[in-house]
């Protein structure tokens, strides 16, 4: 055949016939198979579908697609290659809102991108973007186009996600346009954003942990800051690691929390910052059931400041902020404890209230800060003196309290008080750069006689203190009999203090006479107390008290000063002044400041040194010979003469005696008294005189009371003597009048005996 196709008429008939045959064949086959067979293949495996089955398949496919599209909640358009709408789904028709992008009126045949281009109003810019996107997908230049856009509706604002995806249906091109309502999702996102914002605005650290995965679900900003990590870092960490516990432990914790619901109490935890400073956290946890399981919400609050404030309040409730000492409340508690404890209750206990004398005056004149400084220094001094802050308290503006839990342990309470108060008075308190001596008044109550409990003891100590302040006494016991019963020493000590303050001490002088010439060569100064109530008090009654209370230092200084004054005045008055011998006590000699004091006293006048002689007992010198030699040398270097007093009563080492920087030997009165008893006595005195002379010392006999003694001493070449035979100690006025003559040129001192 040369022609390209069969003649139209013949061919069409043939074709009709063939189709008829095929149809019959199909039917026949179907009948044969009783309709139970769908497909048949030839021997080459080529497949034939029986007509009925084919039809069925096609319908099912179309229905299925339509059903699927209609079942979807999204609004769907099918576009052909030109952008004409070829199909819309059910949802499209039911749309409750309308805009340029989804309009229920848009029907099959409409040019969708063109409709978008023509849009007016708010959504016009979005619509034009969409038109471009659709065209790009249809042209194949874009594989997919998507846009989220808002849509105003009558009832509520809505959000849509629009997607355009290419469609290849056989050889035909097109596109599927789908609008999904994402309003709920957007709302959820917004809720989540607000939630995050709120969480981050909270100062507490918040951690959400999923119980099943044991991982963080969420942590807020504060939590990140507390952990000093970024959110990503923190979220990646194991909650157990953050809490410094094990996972198993934490799981157990969480499960009990789930069982209980909410933790009954917040837990406080102490942690350290990176710089080592402590941080207090308050942790609250609760379990919440969410859609998928249990979430553990942990809230962590930094309560360091609150904690510090609470501790400060606790502290202030029991302590004085300025001095750090206990306050009245804590002090009374402590005293109560002492009284209850077997050790404290068994023995006597003393409660002392100490008032700083004229504190208000110090505050007013030196300023509040000086007042505060004084209180602190007094607190320190009391702490060091009473042996710790446990027994101490600041109970008022200028009042301190001390408890002595066991009086027996401090020894004699009176002595303790005298000593302590004297030390206090001596202590220089430095205020504004200058040293101040501060006086104090003390009220004392003693357990058990002054009260059975702390409160009563305190009240009674207060009463005693009031009395001390009113009466000008340095200390007063609550029980009057106690004040008296603390022997004369107490009151005597007080009185002696006052005696010093009020110049009740006086010096009496006993002349020394040269045995050869009968002239007055010197005088021994003797301390007397002229008590306004009882008159002159014998030295033996008060000197020991002065030594016990330490007053001897002050009184000793006074004696030196007064003796010097007298000597210099005699000179100034033109009298034939004689050197004055002053007795030195052990306490004075042992005082490191002694030589300095002498130097200060002598500084008054260049001729002063010549007028002073120090009498030191043999026993005292030999006590600490090494130290004393040094001390005596220093004194002698100042031009002061030194006498060994009461010689013969101690245990002198002859080798030391030779080395001692002394000028005079005073034979003890007992040898002089014994001298007239027999030859042995005379031998002893004679030996001492010879010993003194051989050591180039002047020898003075004390306690000469009879003419016989005087003549014996004269015979033995004793240099000087002193005693009632010539003159008992007399007042300065009498001494001046009787024994000192005007020094007229070479006129000699008055002669008191026949030479």
């Amino acid at each position: 055949m040369t022609s390209k196709g069969p003649p139209a008429g013949e061919a069409s008939e043939d074709i009709s016939l063939l189709i008829e045959t095929l149809r019959e064949t199909d039917q026949r086959l179907d009948e044969l198979c009783a309709g139970q067979v769908d497909s048949v293949t030839d021997r080459h495996g080529r497949l034939y579908l029986l007509h009925r089955a084919q039809e069925e398949l096609r319908c099912a496919d179309a229905d299925r697609q339509a059903a699927i599209l209609d079942a979807l909640p999204a609004h769907i358009l099918l576009l052909d290659a030109q952008g004409l709408i070829v199909s819309v789904n059910h949802a499209w028709h039911l749309l409750g809102c309308s805009n340029a992008l989804i309009d229920p009126k848009y029907g099959i045949g409409l040019d969708y991108p063109a409709a978008c281009d023509e849009a007016r109003g708010d959504c016009a810019p979005d619509a034009r973007k969409v038109a471009g996107g659709v065209r790009a997908v249809l042209a194949g230049t874009l594989s997919r186009y998507r846009l989220e856009y808002p849509c105003k509706s009558v009832t509520e604002p809505m959000w849509f996600l629009m997607t355009v995806t290419p469609l290849n249906d056989g050889g035909r091109r097109g596109a599927v346009v789908m609008h999904v309502n994402i309003t709920e999702q957007k709302r959820e996102e917004e809720r989540s954003r607000r939630f995050d914002f709120a969480m981050d605005a909270v100062a507490d650290g918040i951690y959400l942990v999923d119980r099943s995965s044991m991982q963080f679900i969420h942590v807020n900003e504060a939590a990140c800051k507390m952990q000093n990590r970024t959110r990503e870092q923190l979220m990646a960490l194991d909650p157990a690691v953050i809490l410094g516990t094990s996972r198993a432990e934490l799981e157990r914790d969480y499960d009990s929390l789930i069982a209980e619901g909410v933790e009954a109490k917040p837990v406080e935890m102490l942690r350290r910052r990176a710089d080592g400073s402590p941080v207090w956290f308050e942790v609250r946890r609760q379990a919440q059931h969410s859609g998928y399981g249990w979430t553990i919400v942990t809230m962590v609050r930094d309560v360091t400041k609150r904690k510090a404030a609470t501790e400060r309040l606790d502290y202030l409730a029991y302590y004085d902020a300025l001095t750090g000492l206990a306050n009245r409340t804590l002090f009374l508690e402590r005293v109560t404890q002492f009284l209850r404890s077997p050790a404290g209750g068994a023995d006597r206990l003393a409660l002392l209230l100490i008032d700083i004398h004229r504190f208000q005056h110090i505050n007013d004149s030196l300023g509040r800060s000086a007042g505060d400084a004084l209180l602190k220094q007094v607190a320190e001094w009391l702490a060091s003196t009473t042996g710790g802050t446990n027994l101490l308290a600041r109970v008022g503006a200028d009042q301190f309290a001390v408890v002595l839990p066991d009086i027996a342990a401090v020894g004699d309470l009176a002595q303790f008080l005298e000593k302590t108060m004297s030390d206090f008075l001596d202590h220089p308190f430095v205020l504004n750069g200058a040293a101040f001596r501060i006086a104090a008044r003390v009220g004392i109550a003693v357990f058990p006689q002054d009260g059975a409990d702390a409160e009563v003891l305190f009240q009674h100590a207060e009463a005693a203190l009031r009395k001390a302040k009113a009466g000008g006494d340095r200390y007063v016991f609550y029980t009057h009999t106690m004040t008296q019963a603390v022997t004369g020493k107490f009151t005597l000590g007080n009185q002696l203090h006052r005696a010093l303050d009020e110049e009740q001490f006086v010096l009496h002088y006993q002349p020394k006479v040269n045995l050869a010439s009968g002239l007055i060569t010197g005088a021994e100064a003797l301390l007397r107390w002229n008590d306004p109530h009882s008159g002159l008090v014998p030295p033996a009654e008060f000197i020991p008290i002065l030594e016990e209370t330490g007053l001897i230092h002050e009184v000793g200084r006074w004696v030196l000063r007064r003796a010097m004054e007298d000597f210099l005045r005699w000179q100034a008055q033109g009298l034939a002044a004689v050197p004055i011998a002053v007795n030195v006590s052990a306490l004075q000699l042992h005082d490191r400041n002694f030589t300095r004091e002498i130097k200060q006293t002598l500084a008054a006048d260049p001729s002063a040194a010549a007028g002073l002689e120090l009498e030191i007992t043999e026993t005292l010198i030999m006590e600490d010979i090494q130290h004393n030699i040094g001390c005596l040398r220093a004194i002698r270097a100042m031009g002061v003469t030194i006498a060994i007093d009461d010689f013969g009563t101690g245990f002198s080492s002859l080798s030391y005696l030779a080395k001692l920087p002394v000028h005079t030997l005073k034979i003890d009165r007992s040898f002089i008294t014994d001298m007239t008893g027999g030859p042995q006595g005379i031998v002893l005195v004679s030996t001492i005189i010879k010993l003194g002379h051989s050591l180039k010392l002047k020898v003075v006999a004390e306690g000469v009371e009879t003419e016989r003694q005087s003549s014996l001493l004269h015979a033995m070449k004793c240099d000087e003597m002193q005693g009632f035979l010539f003159c008992s100690p007399v007042s300065r006025e009498i001494f001046e009048e009787r024994y000192l003559e005007p020094a007229l040129g070479a006129t000699a001192p008055r002669r008191v005996m026949a030479s």
Partner: protein, 96 residues
């Protein structure tokens, strides 16, 4: 026949036509009734795997092949007549 014998079937169908659906349902019902707990069924769509059908000489759908126990037997149709199917496949029906 031992109660532990596993019955293996392969059913060739064409897509999801009504016949295919019926044959599948009938086979499953039959197995549930007679070989409960001791059968395996494989469904092969000739549209998806035409070469398998050709290789096994399946020329029509639905076709059921009993693979085990031997001997291999086959039957065409929707398997709606249970007794006939059992007989054709050489399986003795357990008369309940």
């Amino acid at each position: 026949m031992s109660q532990s014998t596993i019955f293996k079937f392969r059913l060739y169908v064409a897509d999801s036509t009504q016949n295919a659906t019926e044959a599948t349902a009938n086979l499953r019902a039959l197995c549930r009734t007679h070989f409960a707990g001791r059968h395996k069924i494989e469904i092969v769509d000739v549209f998806r795997e035409p070469t398998r059908a050709q290789a096994e000489g399946v020329r029509m759908t639905p076709t059921l092949i009993k693979l085990a126990p031997a001997p291999v037997k086959r039957i065409v149709g929707t398997l709606s007549q249970t007794q006939r199917v059992l007989e054709t496949l050489g399986l003795k029906a357990d008369t309940a």
